[in-house]
């Protein structure tokens, strides 16, 4: 899988993370794996963690620690109502952008 350029990722990664968290609460290490499974490639925690902090500061997600039997306590992230609203606003814009990009790509290839 080719590595996506950092600059290209910057504008979309926080929304991708928010969408993953919206599917069910998750923790940092698992989130890296989920991003990889979704096709984003290997993204270092040094890139993801500041975004998680920023989203918490903006009230899009909340974090709370769980004690788990099989390993160390983990901080789990859950989407908030503000986060849901943010996604609702983001998705139409993203769809418009991808439609436009796909049209251009089709023109380039056709």
């Amino acid at each position: 899988m080719a590595k996506i350029e950092t600059q290209m990722l910057k504008g979309t990664l926080d929304n991708a993370i928010l969408m993953i968290i919206a599917q069910g609460e998750t923790y940092g290490y698992a989130l890296l794996q989920q991003l990889q499974d979704a096709g984003f490639g290997v993204i270092p925690e040094g890139t993801v963690y500041p975004l998680l902090l920023k989203m918490q500061r903006n009230g899009l997600i909340v974090a709370h620690r769980h004690a788990i039997a099989t390993g160390p306590d983990r901080k789990y992230y859950r989407i908030t109502a503000a986060g849901e609203a943010h996604l609702q606003a983001f998705l139409p814009q993203w769809k418009q952008l991808t439609t436009a990009m796909n049209r251009l790509i089709a023109g380039q290839e056709g």
Binding site: Y29, P44, E45, G46, T47, P50, R65, A67, D73, R74
Partner: protein, 274 residues
């Protein structure tokens, strides 16, 4: 065990290059004093927990966290809340007390042995450590393999400041020796100020200020009394040495046990509060 110590234990679970990588990163995060210590340690807990998990999966800390840890750490720091005012007291109040303790006790031992103290010496004793403590954060980030330009600039500025400081110190003309009565009065006033400050602070930051209040109430009058008392010189010097060691031990205890404001207030924070 508090979160700071727990994180030090987590760090021990990393090995070899992973440990070195994490140590540098955590040292850098901790050296920035302007951020809330509890939020910072909470972040360090997350990072270390994940690095340990990555190590167990055969992933190096560098591959897991990234090839530019300083840039990532700077981004993390920018998202953390500012340090509360009391946290600055936690960092510097033991230093203020132990610094004056060293000057006070050492000054009295010099007077007892008939030596003189002038303003230059006193300034050197007081200002030199404060200056170096103030300049130390400018050397942050030198531990990373790839040193950023801003880190080099900061370290260069620190070196220039140190050279300029010594130049100023040497340029000050020699002042006459201070009279015994002036020193006694000055020391007494300084101790009284510290007693009052510690008394006021002990209402809110009990574990930080109360030990120093008791310390100064015992050491201040006792040390000053040695100047006029008829104790043999050897015994007086031993007593002063005991005072100095006690002050240094108190400073060391507070530096290693009071990491968070709630600890200085005398409270405990349970896992459920986090």
């Amino acid at each position: 065990m508090d979160l700071f110590t727990e994180n030090d234990e987590r760090l021990k679970q990393l090995h070899g290059l992973n440990k070195m990588y994490a140590e540098t990163l955590i040292g850098y995060l901790r050296a920035y004093r302007g951020k809330d210590a509890l939020a910072r340690e909470d972040t360090i807990e997350d990072l270390l927990t994940d690095m340990v998990a990555a190590q167990a999966d055969g992933i190096t800390s560098k591959d897991h966290f990234g090839k530019d840890p300083q840039a990532a750490a700077d981004e993390i720091l920018s998202e953390l809340p500012r340090a509360p005012k009391a946290q600055w007291l936690l960092l510097y109040w033991p230093l203020v007390n132990s610094l004056w303790d060293l000057v006070f006790v050492f000054g009295i031992s010099l007077l007892l042995t008939g030596e003189t103290v002038n303003v230059n010496t006193l300034l050197g004793w007081l200002v030199l450590p404060v200056f170096f403590i103030a300049v130390a954060p400018l050397f942050r980030g030198l531990g990373f393999n790839h040193i950023q330009r801003k880190t080099k600039w900061r370290a260069s500025i620190a070196l220039v400041l140190i050279i300029a400081f010594y130049a100023v110190l040497f340029a000050i003309p020699d002042m006459p020796a201070l009279k015994m009565s002036v020193l006694q009065t000055g020391s007494g006033v300084a101790v009284a100020i510290l007693v009052v400050c510690n008394l006021v602070m002990s209402f809110s930051l009990r574990r930080l200020a109360l030990p120093w209040l008791l310390y100064w109430l015992i050491v201040g009058p006792s040390a000053l009394a040695l100047l006029g008392g008829g104790l043999p010189l050897g015994l007086a010097v031993v007593l002063l040495l005991v005072f100095m060691v006690a002050g240094a031990a108190l400073n060391m205890y507070q530096s290693t046990h009071l990491h968070f404001v709630f600890q200085a207030q005398g409270g405990k924070r349970s896992q459920a509060d986090r």
